[in-house]
Symmetry: C2
Subunit: 344 residues, 2 copies
Amino acid sequence: MAKRGEQDTKKEKGGQTVYFKSRPAIIGSYSIAGEKEGKGPVGKYINNVVNDCLFGEKTHEMSEQKMFEHAISGAIKDAGLKPNQIDMMLSGDLLNQIISSSFAARSFDLMFVGIYGACSTMALSLAMGSVMVDGGFVNNAVVSAGSHFATAERQYRYPLELGNQRPPVSQWTVTGAGSIVLSNKSTAKSPCVTAATFGKVIDWGVLDVNNMGAAMAPAAAATIIAHFRDTGRKPSDYSHIFTGDLGKLGEDILRDLLAEADYTLGTNYSDCGRLIYDEAQNLYQGGSGCGCSAVVLNSFIMKKLRNGEYKRILFVATGALLSPVSSFQGNTVPGIAHAVVIEC
Amino acid sequence: MAKRGEQDTKKEKGGQTVYFKSRPAIIGSYSIAGEKEGKGPVGKYINNVVNDCLFGEKTHEMSEQKMFEHAISGAIKDAGLKPNQIDMMLSGDLLNQIISSSFAARSFDLMFVGIYGACSTMALSLAMGSVMVDGGFVNNAVVSAGSHFATAERQYRYPLELGNQRPPVSQWTVTGAGSIVLSNKSTAKSPCVTAATFGKVIDWGVLDVNNMGAAMAPAAAATIIAHFRDTGRKPSDYSHIFTGDLGKLGEDILRDLLAEADYTLGTNYSDCGRLIYDEAQNLYQGGSGCGCSAVVLNSFIMKKLRNGEYKRILFVATGALLSPVSSFQGNTVPGIAHAVVIEC
């Protein structure tokens, strides 16, 4: 391991954290979500709550795509820009061949980079968008992620019509999307992306495809430990630390894993999957899906960044890199987590 | 449109081309492919021809994953580096949730960025890897793409056991993978990546999921025209121009579309899908899949770049952004193409 500060690129030797010296600014943000999310604790911060899960479309997949279109348009409008002032779109989702993102991209005349990080996609698209802006390749980039309960259930599990019983370790895929406009020109009080810690694929051999929290917690721990090691920071250096969608069980596992590495996560740590629904909604471990961290980041978290309540946050979205085929073939569920530092 | 040369970032205003002034060097390259590809015209340039389509594994998916592992290890070895000297892996494939790439990533202790560009993935991963190196974020990045005939057929079309008849417009998904190590330190005679033109999602309303050439040719034309417009170059400024996997019909459509825009593609243009198999192999329109352009780039093309026969090439990989679900729901097949300039 190199000594901290021994840099030969924008990251320390052997480290996983890159620094964005130019501080790409978050000049636009937008969230859209479904009825269940609207009724949860962050509901009042969501820009657009859509009570019709079909969003006026014929299929849930088309509804998900439309949510992406609204999130992207909304973020661009929030930035005070016209779509032709955006250079590039970076986006991903959970659907096979990321059709929600790439079909939504048809509505925007933008260079398109498809990203896949499962539920870590909001952090990954934010990190890669910041790379594009900080590297001087583009002026403005729009980044997004999202998911839909009905499309995810059909694709990963069973058709909803079957009425399958949900196991107690399960999470509920969030219906919603979030989008951010990153810019090399800051506006007043824009939160800025100052660093990103890219994750490695971590596989602890979890075989239960319903227990995503257990599959992803080791990846979250690895990335957070790498982040603290690279930056020399500790949990108290952050106003708040958020993971993406570990859920209750995954959150508990993460706290244990970090404690073993001598980092204590206190009350300034929350999991977006645990935040997004109320206990009374009875959704077991909480929310999951790309949309989970994307919606919480672009509603509750963004509000508190913009009003100055948060000075610096660590946003660690987590993904489970399975497919139904890999699971049917007896493979384990690898996880990944990417972390982004947002400061005011 | 801004005047050429009026730059405010590393690309022209309103353009789609970014320039890599530091010239990220291709210091390692490796290709692996199956029996059919080995018997084709580029077979003798492929580093590793595997005659067993299962590659000693129990499933074709595991075989595809193993091909990625071999391609990545091979490229790192070709670069004269150890895996721990690589900073980041960027990779994508055609399988749902890009399992070939993310499962292969378990074998490497590297930051992992999942990319999805359908069959345009080799160009997209090469472009994003060059962004990481040129932007000063990493020293060395390994980028890859690949596909497998049997996994693609099962996922996109029908189980092979059905013995379905192939329509005349169909292409044959290439079994193989290619990988490149990009570095900020050049070795003697390393070809360099000097620019990339990122594509937009283009949809001309093609509904025939077998006719990928027709779906992707408009995207290839749009990206190539944007590239010429941005750079002020013309076809004759390149030793050779390669598209990814348009196949015979798609190649003909592209020539027509470019002629309409006053660009004549002459004998210095080829499609990798048309190159990879021999007419006598009777594979209709030719090869397709992420592996098609990845294998041809890392065999035939790389050889001619390294021996100085090619001074400057334009590598334009093309992708069809459909999924079986989008097609079942009556959606059209959008296309995308990303272009990369490689020079000696």
